[in-house]
């Protein structure tokens, strides 16, 4: 698979980071090369940036974006969870990172719980997918929805076949009878 960058935003940075970590685990489970590029670690290791808080946030997002770009162009699934405001910053990162998938997490009923809007309308590089973390599905549903979205976009391999075809199941049943199991 080719690398890509998943960029999560939302009303709560802590929630976005938590969902990002869980998506990272889900992709690791599938054997993928994955890295969560956390803003806190970037600030700690690459510097806190300017004194002005807004400028510091933007500087951090640029640094996170830079690392994600390097990782994803080398075949890694990079995941970020940093605010993408103001708009020019978003445009800058969209231009810089190939195969960028933006997902906005929402805590309200504006998006259906546990689903992501379908890919396909308009260039992917200009889209922000919306995933809800509200309702019964909560974080679990959001993680599932994001992984499904990445599968639909072709960034993540599916988890394989759906089991037996009818004739295969009959053959397996016959073998199980032969072996005495059923």
């Amino acid at each position: 698979m080719r690398g890509f960058t998943l960029w999560l935003t939302g009303p709560s940075p802590a929630l976005a980071a938590s969902v990002a970590r869980r998506v990272e685990e889900a992709l690791l489970e599938r054997g993928m090369a994955v890295e969560f590029v956390g803003g806190d670690e970037v600030r700690e290791r690459l510097g806190a940036g300017p004194g002005d808080p807004a400028e510091a946030r933007a500087a951090c997002a640029r640094r996170v974006g830079f690392v994600c770009r390097l990782l994803s162009r080398n075949g890694v699934a990079a995941i970020a969870a940093e605010p993408l405001a103001p708009a020019p910053l978003r445009d800058e990162l969209r231009a810089a990172i190939e195969r960028l998938v933006e997902v906005e997490l929402r805590g309200s009923a504006e998006a259906t719980a546990g689903t992501a809007d379908a890919p396909g309308s308009g260039p992917e590089s200009e889209r922000t997918h919306v995933v809800s973390v509200a309702g019964e599905g909560g974080e679990d549903g959001a993680v599932r929805a994001i992984v499904s979205l990445l599968e639909a976009l072709g960034h993540v391999p599916g988890i394989g076949g759906g089991g037996y075809l009818a004739e295969e199941e009959e053959a397996i049943k016959a073998r199980l009878r032969d072996l005495g199991y059923i």
Binding site: L28, R30, Y164, A171, D178, G180
Partner: protein, 459 residues
């Protein structure tokens, strides 16, 4: 330095043979025992390959997994059943957790892994793979190299198992065992891995096919028969195969040898549906002229309260009003009905009228959850001295030839467990190890905390 762990799974390897007098001829297994802990492994209820291996690798009981055997009910419809495969396993396996922690696995032949799922590492699916014309490895291209690595042919399972051509069966078992061990050794040497696990089905196939020849307590045993020493020699051969794996491993690799259940002599089969018919609990539309496998469309549901399916144990299903389509047991009488039926089953006798010591388990009593559609009762006929024959039409309850062909052994509740290199504090005999303790102990070995959904403890 990073830790590595290798598991050699030997389906059905049984403690009375492994830990008995033959041990002196098995230096490699004895050496592993001396270097760590060993003991009997207490299996799942029921002690069957599926669900046992997956319960071992997830530390969840069959009820939590919603997998009660190879065949399961999808609903309370009479014919709504399915054959389980890996897509039905929702719980996380050891290699799922290891992948999440960036550790690489080799998984080969572990029952209930078909169809293959991607993981950090490689997977070769189990004997429930339909054939080599499907995707049965992860990555898929691995399949094309397995025959070569196996020295000619990687054998998924013994074919045409029920026959009297014993030499041919024995030859197949040896070829399968040798090929799979050889392929495993190649994987160990070629792959980068932290955790490696193979399961070999040969011991199970051997016990079922040859027990009568080796066990003086078996009804059909004849002293001096030509196959008398077959099981003994196969165990010694397996020890040699284990030794060749050990040669491939650096000295710092920890090794587990484990089976999913044991084996014991099978005295005969109880035709459980004939027994139900005799008690007026099961009524057929028309009694067949000869032995016939019971199918749902043969049953007069309006006059049936209980039916069952065969196998190494019996699964009992109740026809309950408001639950089954044509239920006949009033829901309000269900508890009393179950109690009475359980008592009757526990009083089952052999052909001479002697109580055979049947044990009856209720899913709601032995599992922490009853996901999916469990059987109403799980029955060990004669505590697994007898198997369950599902056929009807034979006009007898006790039979001494299996309904599916020759079979000499049944499964027993306890398998084996050896862990070399676990460390001195736990060294020595472990007495009994729960099958549910294996997965949390593996994760602990790699420094991973026991996930909340696992029910076992760290050894």
């Amino acid at each position: 330095m990073s830790k590595r762990l290798c598991i050699i799974g030997l389906d059905c390897l049984t403690p009375q043979f492994l830990f008995g007098p033959w041990l002196a001829e098995m230096p490699h297994l004895r050496g592993l025992m001396d270097g760590g802990i060993h003991g009997n492994l207490v299996s799942t209820i029921p002690p069957i390959t599926v669900p046992a291996w997956m319960a071992m690798m997830t530390s969840q009981d069959p009820g939590m997994l919603g997998i009660y055997g190879f065949r399961n009910r999808a609903s309370h419809g009479y014919e709504d059943t399915f054959t389980v495969n890996a897509t039905h396993v929702k719980a996380k396996t050891v290699w799922n957790h290891l992948s999440r922690n960036r550790l690489r696995s080799i998984v080969m032949g572990v029952p209930l892994t078909y169809p293959p799922r991607p993981l950090r590492g490689v997977m070769v699916c189990d004997f429930l793979t339909p054939g080599k014309d499907v995707v049965w490895t992860s990555p898929p291209e691995l399949a094309s190299r397995l025959d070569d690595w196996a020295g000619g042919e990687y054998i998924i399972d013994v074919r045409d198992f029920r026959n009297e051509r014993k030499r041919e069966t024995l030859d197949q078992i040896y070829r399968m065992t040798n090929a799979r061990f050889q392929a495993f050794r190649r994987l160990l040497s070629l792959e980068d891995w932290d955790f490696a696990m193979m399961v070999e089905m040969g011991p199970d196939r051997l016990h079922h096919a040859f027990w009568r020849y080796a066990d003086p307590a078996h009804r059909l045993y004849r002293p001096g028969n030509e196959f008398e020493d077959v099981i003994h020699r196969y165990y010694v051969h397996l020890d040699g195969q284990v030794g060749r794996v050990l040669q491939e491993l650096p000295k710092d690799v920890s090794v587990i040898v484990v089976s999913d259940h044991g084996a014991q002599a099978m005295h005969g089969a109880v035709c459980i549906n004939e027994w139900l018919i005799a008690r007026g609990l099961l009524t057929l539309k028309r009694y067949p002229e000869g032995p016939t496998r019971l199918k749902a469309d043969m049953i007069d549901w309006s006059r049936t309260r209980v039916w069952s399916e065969g196998g190494y144990y019996a699964r009992i299903f109740l026809n309950v009003e408001g639950r089954e389509p044509d239920g006949r047991i009033p829901a309000g009488e269900l508890a009393a009905f179950k109690r009475d039926l359980k008592s009757e089953l526990e009083n089952l006798t052999d052909e001479a009228g002697r109580n055979i010591g049947t044990r009856v388990f209720l899913p709601e009593e032995v599992y922490r959850a009853s996901n999916g559609t469990p059987p109403d009762m799980i029955v060990y006929l004669g505590n697994l001295d007898w198997r369950s024959a599902g056929m009807v039409g034979g006009r007898q309850i006790h039979v001494f030839e299996n309904d599916t062909g020759p079979d000499d052994a049944n499964h027993s509740q306890e398998g084996i467990f050896i862990w070399q290199g676990r460390g001195k504090p736990a060294a020595g005999a472990a007495d009994r190890v729960s099958i549910y303790d294996v997965a949390p102990s593996i994760l602990d070995y790699f420094g991973i905390a026991t996930p909340g959904e696992m029910i076992g403890k760290v050894l």
